[in-house]
């Protein structure tokens, strides 16, 4: 489904990603865990070209490409098949919930308005936000905003959805409602990469867990392998603190 080889990225001479190999198969839920600053978020941002990699190779959709040489047009094409859920939701504050969800369908993909309305209704029902469809983001709680953001990202039926710490900006009592929506998606076979600090979620939902440290993948395996019998010393330390 999506594969990355030899991904390097540094900011101002500080190496953040030091040769990452990463793959996601169809229907997998991959949880990426690790300390703050380990490069998890940067990995996701390079995969979606919000940051430009210094070197690396990517296979996704019809593209097998050098990540440093992809054109703007190709990036937009790739993003048409990707969903992205941000830590800080980033709902368009000038649009209602409904408009937020329809925007990617109507403006970006030229979908017929009636069809888009139907699709938006469907995804908003799925995340339990249809009764807030006419609200503006500023009128919603953080958890509600994130559920709308998830609806917005799944509306165009992307092949893969990238979640960048989707619950880190939420009060503890609001994380549950967002995680529940993500669990539903996982059960439906949605391909997901989730950068998270929610170990409970990773343990329960992830089909594979990737532990990162200092810009490298230290260990990866099934949730069972990583959480009950981590091989690497650093993984053991990290899991015992968190």
């Amino acid at each position: 489904m999506l594969e990355i080889k030899g991904l390097h990225k540094s900011f101002a001479n500080t190496g953040v990603l030091k040769g990452i190999d990463f793959r996601v198969d169809k229907g997998e839920v991959v949880a990426v865990i690790g300390q703050s600053g380990s490069g998890k978020t940067t990995l996701l941002r390079c995969m979606s070209f919000l940051e430009r990699a210094d070197s690396g190779y990517m296979i996704f959709d019809n593209c097998s490409c050098d990540m440093t040489a992809v054109s703007k047009k190709e990036i937009r094409e790739l993003r048409m098949h990707m969903g992205f859920v941000f830590q800080s939701f980033n709902l368009f504050s000038n649009m209602t919930v409904f408009q937020n969800v329809m925007e990617g369908l109507v403006t970006a993909r030229g979908m017929d308005k009636e069809k888009a309305r139907k699709k938006a209704t469907e995804v908003l029902e799925k995340v339990g936000m249809i009764n807030r469809a006419e609200f503006y983001p500023g009128e919603l709680s953080g958890g509600q905003q994130q559920r709308v953001a998830i609806a917005r990202s799944i509306a165009p039926d992307p092949e893969i959805i990238l979640f960048d710490e989707p619950t880190s900006a939420l009060d503890p009592e609001l994380t549950g409602e967002v995680l529940d929506v993500m669990k539903t998606l996982a059960k439906e076979g949605t391909t997901m990469v989730v950068v998270t600090h929610e170990m409970g979620f990773a343990k329960e939902v992830a089909s594979r867990v990737v532990f990162m440290e200092n810009g490298t993948v230290v260990e990866e395996g099934t949730a069972g392998e990583i959480f009950s019998a981590p091989k690497n010393e650093r993984t053991r330390q990290f899991l015992s603190i968190s």
Binding site: L50, F135, Y136, G138, E139, P156
Partner: protein, 232 residues
């Protein structure tokens, strides 16, 4: 106050007000329209990082902010004819005011665009919008309410600056007051009267600003009031 003075003031009030309505206001509105279009374009080419065009925009702003408005007026009205370009007084004034304020409004728009959190653009890109779509649908609609108070500030400034058009033979509010003052030898009373009429105009603009700002707030939602009403 002598009855003669009262007589002069009352009879001149409408004589000054009418060119105010017929010349000063259209001059202000047209110049402001020019400055908005120009300012938005100058801001957009700068934030889009269009290399060469961006430099032209910076150069333009440098010139028009760095030289006096009255000098710009004189160059356009008295100077351009020697290059073979002759304009009537009114269009010369619209051009000078519009181009001058365009430089200032460019900075207002640029600041308002830069004030939009980067995450809004990133989210727009990730749902598949390209750069022009992102600007039109997400960034500019959010920038406008931010730019609005400063733009209106400049509009009120412009209203008063149009009195400079008197120096290039436009018969507007202030020119008329000058003519009557010269005829009646009552400069103090007549210039105070002109000031009063400018004040009436700018007060009306202030009310208009308040009214539009309330509308903008309502439209963008998110105010405490709107939230409470909706959840109640």
């Amino acid at each position: 106050m002598s009855s003669r003075l009262i007589e002069i003031l009352t009879s001149s009030f409408f004589k000054i007000l009418i060119p105010g309505i017929k010349i000063t206001i259209p001059l202000t509105v047209l110049s402001f329209a020019v400055s908005l279009v120009l300012g938005l374009l100058l801001a957009l080419v700068q934030v889009a990082e269009l290399r060469f065009i961006k430099d032209i925009a910076r150069f333009y702003i440098w010139i028009f902010r760095g030289t006096p408005l009255i000098v710009q007026l004189f160059i356009i009205f008295f100077g351009l004819p020697s290059l073979g370009i002759t304009l009537e007084a009114f269009p010369s004034a619209v051009m000078a005011f519009g181009m001058n304020l365009g430089a200032y409004n460019a900075e207002v728009f640029r600041a308002a665009i830069l004030a939009i959190p980067k995450g809004q653009m990133e989210a727009a890109y990730m749902i598949g919008l390209n750069y022009p779509m992102t600007m039109m649908r997400v960034v500019l609609p959010q920038s406008f309410p931010i730019a609005f108070p400063s733009l209106f500030n400049n509009l009120i400034g412009l209203l008063k600056d149009t009195s400079l058009a008197s120096s290039i033979t436009v018969i507007e509010l202030f020119t008329t007051a000058q003519q009557i003052a010269a005829r009646t030898y009552e400069p103090f009373a007549l210039y105070c009267e002109a000031a009063l009429i400018y004040l009436i105009f700018s007060t009306a603009l202030t009310w208009l600003q308040d009214w539009i700002e309330r509308k903008l707030k309502w439209k963008s939602g998110g105010s405490e009031d709107a939230g409470n009403q909706r959840t109640a």
